[in-house]
Point group: C2
Chain length 154, copies 2
């Protein structure tokens, strides 16, 4: 069953190229049923975050009316990049199956490995400069959040 | 100038709590002008990927009509989580400034550090099980992609 869903994600990746997207596809399954599917829509949607996994997660959440997917499994044509990996943790998916890995993606010109390497560097040594500035108000949002009684935790 | 924009991102984070979102805010600046701003909209939008940074990146891309933000700087109330870090690399932002760091976020109950730790583990040892299955069609999407002449690279 896992093989069949994964095979469908790979087919979706191929179809997605024809409709103007990148060579990636993902789908989300709950109780043995596909509830969301997407290709990579970065260039057609002008959205660098519209990787297949992120798009499928967003669609599945809309379908279920929830911001978590704890009973769902993700099938993706390629090992998730760090952005998608983060999205998978925030969505609290149950499991992930993938066909290609990050090195296959690298050979095809997609820099997943590069971002995995950058993440481990101290913020000030990354290729995109990231700098913490000291502000007296920096932790105020967390103070307000912790005092708020009727907040929705996530 | 960096301090003033960052201060505005922190204010946005506080305002965002009042409008039902999480305690995070981000804005994107191009040529000294704010072109996009967002709070964290995970729970109101039922979208686990709607962190302030991802949402601001998506808005900025729509505004500029581009899937990259090479001339833009991101100001965010808190150090980006791995998902947002990935989004920053894919959007190719010029620089990032943040106020709080991942440890401040952790103290307020947001598991950024946990995801940073998970990323470095082998896929099969992560708390969300991630497994590569061997398919004969696995690299077909990349083969199709490489043969496609009129593709838009990203």
């Amino acid at each position: 069953m896992h093989q069949a869903f994964l095979r469908r994600a790979v087919e979706l990746a191929c179809e997605n190229i024809e409709s103007g997207g990148g060579p990636f596809g993902a789908l989300i399954v709950k109780d043995g049923e596909i509830i969301a599917a997407s290709g990579n829509r970065v260039t057609p949607d002008l959205d660098p975050t519209a990787h297949a996994e992120v798009s499928a997660i967003r669609l599945a959440c809309q379908k279920l009316g929830d911001f978590q997917l704890t009973e769902c499994t993700l099938y993706t044509s390629c090992e998730p990049c760090p952005m998608c990996l983060g999205a998978i943790y925030w969505a609290r998916l149950k499991a992930v199956y993938f066909a290609c890995n990050r090195f296959d993606a690298g050979k095809a010109g997609f820099d997943d490995s590069f971002i995995y390497t950058e993440i481990d560097k101290p913020t000030d040594q990354r290729q995109i400069a990231m700098r913490q500035l000291i502000l007296d108000t920096a932790t105020r949002p967390f103070d307000v959040w912790q005092r708020k009684i009727d907040k929705i935790r996530y």
